[in-house]
């Protein structure tokens, strides 16, 4: 079976600035593919070339077997697209706007638009420009999903959505995949991609720095930890945790009666937790660093390229 999306050696330059550099990407039909990377990594540029909003400087792009430029409107009817910076300023209502897109890209099954609106919780009888950012984003999702396109290209689709709606959106993604639709989505939020995607590419500065299934990318393996614990000797505490594999950026500071320990833990967290268990823990926060930090740490110039790197 041929790929839903085939990108080979894609370059995109704007003047002297190269937005996308020698990018290869292949998305199999019926899968969810995640494109992650910090802002400005080239995600939006890549996705926009797929719907012929912008044209490659060089390289080959095939979407559903066709060159987007030659496939034109006919090809785009088979695609649902959410732009990265969705702006809806019209005086028209959501219903009116969606029925316009149904005319150009339809057919849309009867009642499906309202069903999606109800699912996401947005009022389509209001003028789109009066909607909040989150509600505009919902209208954006509906216009991409409503004609059940073979391919969904979603640029930061969850931006502005609250967590409940994000969950609903993830369910919609899985349903789309189960129905045989292909999804390519971008995000700068790692957890979102981890929950949804079958396969992932990590973009940084216009290049793919890693590609594979989500688990193999180790992106989730960097954690920022903050603990408040019962201890009186900062130096002893510092010595104890310094020896643990993967612990860096260790800081111990007094925190009222107790001590506060902050550190970055890379790789397995178990040794750290075991060491922690010997103390009385008042508070514990483990958070994933922002994607930019993870990508830089794992795939930046200083990092080694074993493991998840291709």
């Amino acid at each position: 079976m041929s790929s839903a999306i085939d990108i080979t050696a894609l370059h995109k330059r704007y003047g002297h600035r190269t937005a996308v550099h020698d990018l290869d990407l292949h998305v199999q039909p019926g899968t969810i593919y995640g494109l992650i990377g910090p802002n400005g990594a080239g995600k939006t540029t890549t996705l926009r070339t797929l719907v012929d909003i912008i044209r490659p400087t060089s390289g080959q792009v095939r979407v559903l077997g066709e060159d987007p430029r030659h496939g034109g409107a006919r090809l785009r009817r088979r695609i649902g697209f959410v732009p990265g910076e969705l702006r809806l300023e019209g005086r028209v209502t959501g219903h009116r706007m969606l029925s316009f897109y149904a005319e150009t890209s339809g057919p849309v099954s009867r009642g499906y638009t309202s069903e999606l609106a109800e699912r996401l919780g947005v009022d389509l009888s209001r003028p789109v420009r009066s909607l909040s950012k989150g509600n505009k984003q919902k209208v954006g999702l509906i216009q991409a999903f409503m004609h059940r396109p073979e391919l969904l290209i979603l640029d930061e689709p969850t931006s502005g959505l609250d967590p409940l709606v994000q969950r609903e959106f993830l369910a919609m993604l899985r349903e789309a995949r189960d129905a045989g639709q292909t999804v390519l989505l971008s995000s700068h939020v790692l957890s979102e991609i981890q929950q949804a995607a079958d396969e992932v590419a990590v973009l940084a500065a216009g290049r793919i720095v890693a590609q594979g299934d989500v688990a193999s990318l180790r992106l989730g393996s960097v954690r920022r930890v903050r603990v408040a614990l019962d201890a009186h000797d900062p130096d002893a505490l510092h010595r104890r945790f310094t020896g643990i594999p993967g612990v860096t950026e260790l800081e111990v500071t007094p925190h009222g009666e107790a001590l506060q320990l902050a550190a970055t833990v890379e790789g397995g967290i178990d040794p750290f937790v075991k060491a922690l268990a010997q103390e009385t823990v008042h508070d514990l926060t483990i958070e994933e660093p922002d994607l930019e930090e993870s990508v830089l740490r794992l795939y930046g110039p200083a990092a080694d390229h074993e493991g998840g790197a291709r």
Partner: protein, 266 residues
């Protein structure tokens, strides 16, 4: 599968209310000016006022013909207030059609759907044309209706020619703006180019009237192409009319080509 001319129909649907406003404004101007002709122009009252004004000023604003009904309608409406209103409408519509849609982010979403680029430009141009034709037909109809009551004495077919001339000038400006928008995606450029075409056309013919040495400027003025031979008095000059409309249509086609060839702005 996809509906016929969706972009065109959407433009019309979204603009008909505004179009009524424009029509009312134009009607107001016509009903204000034209019925005054019998009391002002016809009895020579206005003529004596004009004679007291500096000749250069009178030539510039085209009041030299004001003593006849045809000249009065030309000087007040077709050459001045009507030209101004039509030009404003043309500049607004021509610059918002592509450049405005692009700056508001609508174009990106539209073109990610089943709409071709050339199709988008062509349907946008057509929507502007239809609205301007409506304003032209409406103005012509009002002038015709006032022709007898206001004792203008214009030969009715000449009203058709003058309306086509006025509409053509506006369409030319609008399409220049459309092309600038299709090339740059910037509303400021589209607005500037559309307005410049109208303003320069007006300024060139006004300067050309001032001295024989400057008469060559008429060749650069679309305004002069259709208005130098007074359309309400002698009938519109068909060559000039065709030139204005022809260039406007070429600009519309060029817009379709230009939009098809570039990246959209993000």
């Amino acid at each position: 599968m996809s509906a016929v001319m969706p972009v065109f129909r959407r433009s019309i649907r979204e603009s008909w209310r505004g179009l009524i406003g424009w029509s009312l404004g134009i009607a107001a101007v016509l009903f204000l000016y034209l019925p005054l002709y019998p009391s002002f122009g016809a009895n020579g009252q206005l003529d004596s006022v004009i004679k007291a004004l500096p000749k250069q000023l009178v030539d510039t604003i085209g009041y030299d013909q004001i003593a006849t009904g045809a000249g009065y309608a030309q000087s007040t409406f077709f050459g001045l207030m009507g030209f101004l209103l039509f030009t404003i409408a043309a500049v607004l519509w021509g610059s918002s059609a592509i450049a405005g849609a692009e700056e508001s982010g609508r174009l990106e979403l539209d073109l990610a759907h089943g709409i071709g680029r050339a199709q988008y430009a062509a349907e946008s141009a057509l929507a502007v044309l239809v609205r301007l034709l409506w304003l032209g037909a409406f103005s012509g109809a009002v002038v015709l209706a006032l022709n007898d009551p206001a004792e203008l004495g214009i030969h009715p077919p000449h009203i058709v020619g003058a309306s086509l001339a006025l509409t053509g000038l506006a369409f030319l400006s609008a399409m220049a703006g459309l092309l600038a928008g299709a090339l740059t995606g910037r509303k400021a450029w589209a607005t500037g180019v559309a307005a410049a075409v109208a303003v320069l056309g007006y300024v060139f013919q006004a300067l050309a009237k001032q001295s024989d040495d400057l008469e060559w400027l008429n060749a650069l003025s679309p305004y002069a192409w259709v208005y130098q031979q007074p359309p309400l008095k002698e009938g519109v000059e068909v060559g000039g009319l065709l030139l204005v409309w022809g260039i406007a249509i070429v600009l519309a086609l060029a817009s379709a080509l230009a939009l098809s060839r570039r990246d959209l702005r993000g």
